[in-house]
Structure formats: C-alpha cells, structure tokens
C-alpha cells in the first residue's frame, strides 16, 4: 500500500539527482533578476563606465549607488534608476568615519567636512579623485573660519598671523603652518605704541599679563571670549 501511495504522490523528479525534488533546482534558478550587473549598464553608459574603470571607484559597481537596475535595462523608458545627488547616505554609508573601517580607506567626518555642500559639487562619483587643492583655508578649517567670522578678528586674513606655505594646501600634515610665538606679535597691533587704527584695544605689554603669553588668556580666533 505504501508503495502504491508512494508511486502516486511522490513528485516525479524526486530522487533523480539526490534525496530531493530535482525540479526544485529549476524553480530556484528561475527566480527573476533585480540587479542587472555592471556589464549590462556599460553597454549603453559606456563613457561613465570607461571613466569609472580608471578611477578609484573602479571596483564599485554601478548598482551600488544607482540601485537595482534590471528593470531599467529591460525597459529604459519607464524605469529610471536612482540618481543620488544630495549630500547624504549614498556617499556617507561608505565614506563616513568609523573606526573599524580599514586604515587608508578614504573617510570624512561629515559634520566637519564642508558642511551643507553636496558631495558631487566637488567630487565626481565616476572619478572621485579629490578634484583640486582647496582654494581657501576654510575648506578644511571650517570651524575656525566660522568662529573667526563672528569675532572682532573677522577682517583679518589667516596669513596675517599664520605663515602657511603653498605646499600646506597639498600636503597639510607634511608642511605645517607656523603660529606666532611671542607676545610681541600681538603687540604689533595691540601695544600702546603700535602703529594701528585707533579703535583697536590697547594694553601696556610691560604690566598686562606679565609673563603669560597672550593666547593663554585670549583665543585669537575669537578674542573677546
């Protein structure tokens, strides 16, 4: 009886290749695609593909940022893939600083890295090499620039006090800018007999603060605090 039942109800392909329904393999294999694969993308988007293939993003497949695009590849007209333009998760999910991320992998601290600017304003995602050296000090030292901008020192250029060589802009760690080292430097504007506009506050360097350096009490980027 068991044999009769077995012959009747056991699926036809059961046991053909193992103790399972051989047809099940085809069922799993017939699942539809969602991700087309970059090879399909570059058939049409060849210039982006070529550009990307020579860039730091050469290992980053198109659909990492643009989302699953098999539907788009099937029907180019009505299905459009994602095109992330905003500053946000698409770039930061890889490039925001996290300590487990491998050393050497380019990371930023989003809060401090050119706030409010769209990533693609400076970086081309298909060729994300940092485009050029920063024009102004504030590109990197944004926090100081913002502080200084609301202080009495707002009109001063950074170079007034800091001696920054041009190489510092390309290799900031290797060519550190110099800072003032002596009281007399501040005295150049703030001493009794300095040759500077009359509305600048004056002190007598001989008895004001005595042996302390100016910036031990005054923060030069926001001196009134």
């Amino acid at each position: 009886m068991l044999l009769v039942l077995r012959g009747r109800f056991v699926p036809a392909s059961f046991g053909e290749t193992g103790h399972y329904r051989a047809d099940a393999v085809d069922v799993v294999a017939a699942q539809p695609l969602r991700y087309a694969g970059w090879q399909v993308c570059v058939e049409c988007h060849d210039s982006e593909g070529a550009m990307k293939s020579r860039s730091f993003h050469r290992t980053v497949s198109c659909e990492v940022c643009h989302g699953p695009a098999a539907a788009h590849a099937e029907d180019v007209e009505s299905q459009t893939p994602l095109i992330p333009r905003e500053r946000g998760a698409e770039c930061l999910s890889c490039h925001e600083y996290l300590s487990p991320r491998p050393t050497g992998f380019p990371q930023i601290i989003e809060r401090l890295h050119n706030p409010l600017q769209a990533c693609i304003g400076c970086h081309d995602p298909h060729d994300p090499t940092p485009p050029e050296v920063p024009e102004s000090c504030s590109a990197c030292h944004a926090q100081i620039a913002r502080t200084k901008a609301v202080s009495h020192h707002l009109t001063l250029e950074c170079e007034t006090c800091h001696d920054a060589r041009a190489e510092h802009r390309e290799n900031p760690r290797s060519f550190l800018p110099r800072k003032p080292t002596a009281r007399e430097f501040c005295g150049g504007c703030h001493s009794e007999n300095a040759d500077s506009p009359a509305d600048i506050p004056r002190v007598d360097l001989r008895d004001h603060g005595e042996r302390y350096l100016c910036w031990q009490c005054h923060y030069p980027h926001h001196p009134e605090s």
Binding site: L2, L5, F9, V10, F14, G15
Partner: protein, 410 residues
C-alpha cells in the same frame, strides 16, 4: 503576521548581548515542549505496565491495564502538537513518502507507527480479547457489535487460545520494552544530536530523556490510579501504591543522578559555551530550572517519597504524600522539557547573548491550544476506560464471579 512582527519587534528590546539577527524568532515553542513531555508519559506508562508482565511484579497488577490504556491515550495525542507546530501540516505525509534516512526526525513516523500498531494496539488487543468476547455476550446490541468489531471476529475462548493470548502479550511486552526505550530515547536523540547547540548536544540526552520518561510515566499512572479509585469509591490497593512509590523513587534517583552527572561534566569540561550557559542558568532559566525543575520537581518529591515510603506514617497520610509527590514530579518533568526545548533556544549560537521566549495565550502556538492538547488524552482515556474497563475486577476472563460488581461499579 502583523502581530507576529510586532512580537518580534518587542523581543528585540529584551535581548542581552549579541545574537545573530535571524535568532530573534524562537522557532520551537510550547507545542514542541509538549511533544517530548507526552511521548515521555507514553514510554514511562508502558514500561511500568511491562514491569508487571515481564518482571512479574505482582503488586502492580491493578495498574497494568490502566497503564496500557494511559499509554495509548497519550500516544494518540503525541503527534498532534508536532502537527500543529508545522508550517505546512498538510505536507506532513511527505515524511512517510520520502523519509530522509539521515534525519533523526524522519524516523518519527516509523518509530511512532511501530510503537502504536505493533506494540501497544497488539498488546492491548491480545490482553483484552477474551474479556471482549465475554463482555460482548452480556452487552446490548450496539456494544455487542462494537466489541465484535474490536475482537476482529476472533472469538475462540478455548484454554489453548487464551494461553496463546497470554504468550503473545508476554512476547509483545518483551519487544515493547526496547520499543519504549527507542521511542523516547529517540526523542532525546532529536535534541542530543544537534551539534550546533551546546545545550542540547550531549550523548547523555537520550538516556536522561528515557529516565525522566520512566519517572513521569510512573507518576502519571500513580495519579490516575489514585484518582480513579477515589472516583469509583474504592479503597486503593496500598501494596500497589507502595510499589509504585518505590519505583518512582528509584527512577527519580537515577534520573536526578544522570542530570547531575551531565551538569558536572559540562562544568568540568568547561568548553567554549560554558560562559553563556552559566549566564543562561542564573538568569533566564533560574525559575524554571533551579526552582521548578530541581527544587519543586525533583528534590521535594524525592524527600517526600523517601520519607513516607520508609517511615510509619498512617496509610491515609502516606497516600496523600504519594499523590502530592507524583503531582510535583509532573510539574518537574514538564519543567525539564521546557528547560531543554526553550532553554536551548534562549542563547545565541554566537555564544554572545541571550534572547527571550514570549508565550502567547491564544493562537495555534498559544497556551490555550497546549492546555487543550493536555486535556485531550484524558478525554480519550475516559472513553477507553468506559469501553475497556481496566479494573481487575472487571475482567471476566480472570474471575467470573466478580464480573457483575465490576461492570456496574464503573
């Protein structure tokens, strides 16, 4: 499904440490706790019955048929919690059609069918056959037909035939004992062979299961025997109760020793998993393991049985002590099953965290279903007792004289 997801969401907040994300859902719930609990009762009750037949423990005769019927009633219910727990119960027949011989679980159907068909039903049939013929002669038309159907038309009452019945019962019992061992040892193997789970994976698991099964079966038959005699307004056979209590005590001692051995062995080997298992025992399993299983379910009945069995308590008090001890044993054995099944899923296989089990009230996996499934075997047992009175005095074949009082007393 919405509810299900909400429950999982609330479970996330109660996780301590790290668990694999797929482990938030606990897969074997209360129904799977019931399954080893019920099969344990079956195996235990049967082993008790065979004590009388094979090992000639004459004191236990009043419980022989009762134990058989109890085993049958619970065995009929045993697969229901499993079936109810399947994601696709309608596909369960596949386990018979294409059993995977390397899978412990695939053997369930065969072990079960073997035990039900070849052991229990046959033994009951042979044991009751002569009585059935005689009861049939005295009963009304409907019952007459029913008994005739049950005897399968075999109506020979000659001494040779009755002798053959007795021999058959003896042989089946001989086969039945290893079968009962197989039935529950096998259930232990289902858990003990999961190498991925350090709480389950233990070679002692089938043996611990077996002895806890014997403990639970004896205590269940003791409870049922005690209650049914009270309901029938009869005096319980004290020699029988004493014997039951003794066997319960011995089995309990062996069972507890095995569990302690398992515990010490784990502690002494102190493998990778010991940290998380210790944490599990002192936190999530504290109540169900330390309090319920060990204190209430093992040590208390152990002391009660030992004391009342070997001291000169008045008979009345002794009986009550046995009854309470047997009741506590049931609670304890249920706790054992819970701690194995649920406990084994409360820690992550990453060995880095603990999760929670939330018992629902309604629903197929809920408390009410399980209570229903625990009441069901008693209903079946009631019908079986009505149909096949297990009381010694009801047996016409044994003593013609007691027949009249036996059938009316029921």
């Amino acid at each position: 499904m919405e509810q299900h997801l909400e429950r999982l969401q609330s479970a996330v907040e109660q996780i301590s440490g790290f668990i694999y994300p797929n482990e938030i859902e606990l897969h074997w719930g209360l129904l799977v706790v019931l399954y080893p609990y019920i099969t344990g009762l079956v195996a235990g009750a049967f082993i008790l019955a065979s004590l009388e037949k094979v090992f000639k423990v004459k004191e236990l005769e009043p419980t022989y048929r009762l134990a058989l019927l109890t085993a049958l009633a619970f065995l009929l219910v045993a697969p229901l919690p499993l079936l109810a727990h399947l994601g696709h119960p309608e596909r369960s027949f596949e386990i018979f059609l294409t059993p995977h011989f390397k899978s412990a679980m695939a053997m369930f159907g065969f072990v079960y069918a073997w035990y039900l068909m070849l052991v229990l039903l046959l033994e009951i049939w042979f044991d009751y056959r002569a009585d059935l013929v005689k009861w049939g002669e005295k009963a009304g038309a409907f019952k007459k037909l029913l008994y005739w159907v049950i005897t399968l038309g075999s109506r020979d009452l000659s001494p040779e035939a009755v002798e053959f019945d007795k021999k058959a019962v003896h042989t089946i019992t001989l086969i039945g004992i290893p079968s009962a061992f197989l039935l529950h040892g096998y259930v232990g193997f289902i858990f003990g062979s999961v190498k991925a789970n350090p709480w389950w994976s233990s070679v002692l698991m089938p043996i611990v299961f077996l002895f806890s099964a014997i403990v639970s079966g004896i205590s269940l038959v003791l409870l049922i025997y005690y209650v049914t005699t009270l309901v029938r307004r009869k005096q319980p056979d004290m020699a029988c109760l004493d014997k039951l209590a003794s066997f319960l005590l011995y089995a309990l001692i062996v069972d507890f020793s095995l569990e302690i051995l398992d515990f010490i062995h784990r502690l002494y080997e102190s493998e990778e998993s010991i940290g998380i298992l210790s944490e599990l025992i002192v936190s999530k399993l504290y109540i169900s393991l330390t309090i319920v299983q060990i204190l209430i379910g093992t040590i208390s009945p152990l002391l009660m049985l030992a004391y009342s069995r070997f001291s000169r308590l008045p008979t009345e008090l002794k009986r009550v002590a046995y009854f309470i001890a047997a009741l506590l044993v049931q609670v304890g054995i249920f706790g054992t099953r819970w701690n194995v099944v649920i406990g084994g899923q409360l820690f992550s296989k990453s060995l880095r965290g603990l999760t929670v089990y939330k018992l629902e009230l309604g629903g197929i996996e809920g408390l009410l279903t399980s209570i229903g499934l625990l009441i069901l075997p008693f209903l079946i047992l009631y019908i079986l007792i009505k149909l096949l009175p297990p009381w010694p005095e009801a047996s016409l074949a044994a003593s013609e004289s007691a027949a009249a009082s036996g059938t009316t007393a029921d």
